[in-house]
């Protein structure tokens, strides 16, 4: 203490403090009770009930369409009619056609759908409020069988694991580079990560639109991204203060990059699984090739900070695994139990991690450029990193 207080007041938590803390809460309860009792002067009865039904997922089985729905409106609602392609269809709801607020139900329709055709489904509640969902291309929803499980695993390996490891294979070659080239590579990594971070954030925003409004998708992005950023920042500061070792620090950064990229690939996997489920299969093998090319740069990004050190093969393999394998997990989750809420959260965490890493790398680069002047290296490096992803992205978009 630089300014000791003249009177040392022992600040204890007394009963009086407790009452003072509680007072506004009690008053608040009173105000709410008053409002509910009087209607607060706004005596407005809604002309039509406010209802909201989220159709979270559809699944197609032979002669059956199933819709998973969630009531995200303020009150309970009742499913009263289901119309498929302008035909009123008999249906069954489990557990109950009357769904409580935030409750879920499954609508089963015995419908002879045809492979490859499109279906528009309209659901009427008992208050005649319509909710619609579209099945753009009908085909049987993959059930969690061993074949589909292996299939999703393989997708994850192709899109996540293989490219990241391929990138890491550059390690021996890049070790021979000079200091300037290494700084350039670090800057390029920062560029890559900025691009990936923006991409991840955009994806999170896209998923946020699918999240029922009650769950506040945009708010989830803020919570996930900001808390991850600050948590990683705290961990990295702790590491530095404990070891003070540059090598150790760079290794930590590499692991954080791997983690951030891992979350990014998890989000990618989620999206792939979900996309497969809804039949977005118009893309083809060409795009898988595009993904491999783009994601190889992720491996490069992971190893860039530790090029001047000698991390063991085990450590490099672990980094590759952390960076790539989550794509498999994502594909499973997205394929079998797609949840926009999880997707938003994972993607937000990924974005937070990626931006924190960019911040760390910028500190490393600053140290390098203090020792040696490299006027255009950082600019060209960052730009190269971003352009690399943009150009390889052309293969996919």
């Amino acid at each position: 203490m630089t300014h000791p207080t003249p009177h040392t007041v022992t600040k204890r938590f007394t009963f009086r403090t407790f009452i003072l803390l509680l007072l506004p809460v009690i008053l608040l309860a009173g105000v709410i009770a008053l409002f509910l009792a009087t209607g607060g002067g706004l005596n407005l009865d809604p002309a039509a009930p406010v209802e909201n039904l989220n159709i979270e997922r559809y699944s197609l089985k032979p002669n059956t369409i199933e819709l998973s729905v969630r009531n995200t409106g303020p009150d309970e609602l009742t499913i009263a009619s289901v119309i498929i392609n302008d035909a009123v269809m008999p249906f069954r709801v489990t557990p109950n056609a009357t769904i409580p607020r935030l409750g879920r139900a499954t609508i089963h329709i015995n419908y002879a759908w045809s492979y490859g055709e499109a279906y528009g489904i309209k659901i009427f509640t008992s208050n005649a409020i319509p909710f619609e969902v579209e099945i753009p291309v009908a085909f049987e929803t993959p059930a969690p069988s061993r074949t589909t499980f292996l299939g999703f695993t393989l997708i994850g390996i192709y899109v996540g694991v293989i490219p990241v490891f391929l990138g890491i294979f550059w390690f021996p070659a890049l070790r021979t580079l000079g200091r300037r080239a290494m700084t350039f590579l670090m800057a390029a990594t920062a560029g890559l990560l900025i691009f990936l971070g923006l991409d991840t954030l955009a994806e999170a925003l896209e998923f946020a639109h699918q999240v029922p409004s009650a769950f506040q998708g945009i708010g989830l992005i803020g919570i996930g991204a900001v808390s991850t950023f600050l948590l990683l920042e705290a961990i990295s500061n702790q590491q530095t203060s404990v070891s003070g070792n540059e090598t150790q620090r760079r290794l930590t950064i590499a692991f954080i990059i791997a983690t951030g990229i891992g979350f990014h690939n998890l989000g990618e996997g989620l999206a792939i699984g979900a996309a497969y489920n809804v039949g977005e299969i118009a893309l083809g093998t060409f795009l898988v090739v595009g993904f491999i090319i783009q994601n190889i740069t992720e491996g490069l990004g992971i190893i860039a900070p530790v090029l001047r050190d000698k991390p063991g093969i085990g450590k490099l393999a672990l980094m590759g695994f952390i960076g790539g394998a989550p794509a498999i997990l994502g594909a499973w989750i997205g394929g079998f139990t797609p949840s926009p809420i999880l997707a938003v959260l994972f993607l937000a965490i990924g974005a937070g991690a990626i931006f924190q890493v960019v911040y760390e790398i910028s500190k490393l680069i600053r140290k390098d450029t203090e020792r040696q002047s490299m006027p255009m290296t950082v600019f060209s490096g960052v730009l190269t990193g971003m352009m690399l992803l943009w150009v390889t992205g052309l293969l996919i978009k």
Binding site: S81, A87, V88, P90, R92, N110, T148, A274, I281, T285
Partner: protein, 347 residues
């Protein structure tokens, strides 16, 4: 009807880019397996499609008692009015009609906040003979202005259109007596003509008006009235359900029983709002068609006719064989949204 955006969807495959749908080669979608057996607990009634999914239709029953009418009864419910003779020897027929707001359960679980004549959709089928004096005591028990506009000959101040006098727009709580001679003979209709017209009709204010020729029509075994209409349940000016006599799928769920050899006459009126045409198709049979019923000679022998809004005509037919026979709009979209029925022809 909303068009599906499949093409747009494929075009924007790129959005999936981020998503990168990679697994096409690894997971081939399994095709529809027709050999799988499937129990369908909801296939009601006589119509079944084996293991190829349910047929369109409703499950369960609307509350006819609460609705206050049953389409099965409406078929043969002809209102001849209170009959008396005027000093000049002319027959006088008096009818009481009240406009009422009423919630009608149109499909199980969904109530339609309808505007009705006498609490039902369609309104009562008014029936008279050519030359009779018609006197309709109309009172408005709803909270909107309404009127009754008849198709047929009558003076301008009896036309029930705003601007033609007190009968053109009857305020809530007011009443008006429409009076005119029933002519020409034929099958006609009446409906509210207060604006916005489409909404006043779509909400349920219409009914059939039959004027029999003086000498009558040749006798038949059974006469029925069918008023075709739509139900726009969410007020987006598109019909969500289609029906005959008020309740979608009613005659599919409750087939109309007739006998082989019986002569059937149907008074068919189209009051469908929002869609351009409606139609009637009879299965395994042909009928004589009398457009507007203004001639005693049929114009056509056919099994399908189309009608625009307010068009109407009389159908006459006889079944040769017993069995279940469908009748429905051959605008098949309407059929699957409720305008479908069955004749059960008994031996």
């Amino acid at each position: 009807m909303k068009s599906l955006s499949r093409r747009d969807f494929l075009k924007m495959g790129g959005i999936a880019a981020v998503l990168g749908t990679a697994g096409i080669t690894t997971i081939a979608p399994r095709l529809h397996n027709h050999t799988e057996t499937q129990s369908s607990p909801h296939t009601g009634h006589m119509l079944q499609q084996g293991n190829h999914g349910d047929l369109p239709g409703t499950v369960g029953e609307v509350n006819h008692e609460k609705n206050g009418f049953n389409p099965t009864d409406i078929l043969t419910d002809f209102d001849y009015g209170k009959v008396s003779t005027l000093p000049n020897g002319q027959t006088l027929r008096e009818y009481n009609i009240v406009a009422l707001n009423k919630n009608i359960e149109v499909v199980p679980g969904i109530e339609f906040p309808a505007w009705t004549y006498n609490g039902r959709i369609p309104g009562p089928t008014l029936r008279a003979t050519e030359g009779d004096r018609i006197r309709i005591h109309f009172s408005n028990g709803s909270n909107h202005p309404h009127s009754m506009h008849f198709h047929g000959f009558h003076p301008g101040n009896m036309d029930g259109v705003p601007g033609t006098g007190p009968g053109g727009l009857v305020e809530p709580g007011d009443s008006f007596t429409y009076e005119f001679d029933a002519e020409p003979f034929g099958l006609h209709l009446y409906h509210c003509h207060v604006f916005p017209l489409a909404r006043h009709i779509a909400k349920g204010l219409y009914g059939a008006f039959i004027v029999d020729p003086k000498q009558g029509r040749p006798p038949v075994d059974r006469e029925m009235v069918m008023v075709m209409h739509g139900i726009d349940i969410d007020f987006d000016d598109e019909n969500d359900f289609y029906a005959v006599n008020g309740i979608p799928f009613h005659y599919q769920n409750h087939p109309i029983q007739i006998k082989v050899g019986e002569k059937i006459r149907i008074y068919l009126v189209n009051m469908l709002e929002f869609d351009l045409i409606n139609s009637f198709h009879l299965h395994a049979n042909f009928f004589y068609y009398y457009p507007t019923g203004t001639s005693l000679t049929p114009s056509e022998f056919t099994d399908t006719i189309i009608q625009g809004q307010a068009q109407r005509g009389i159908l006459e037919f006889t079944y040769k064989y017993p069995g279940m026979y469908m009748f429905h709009a051959h605008v098949t979209e309407f059929a699957e949204l409720g305008w479908n029925g069955m004749f059960e022809v008994l031996p």
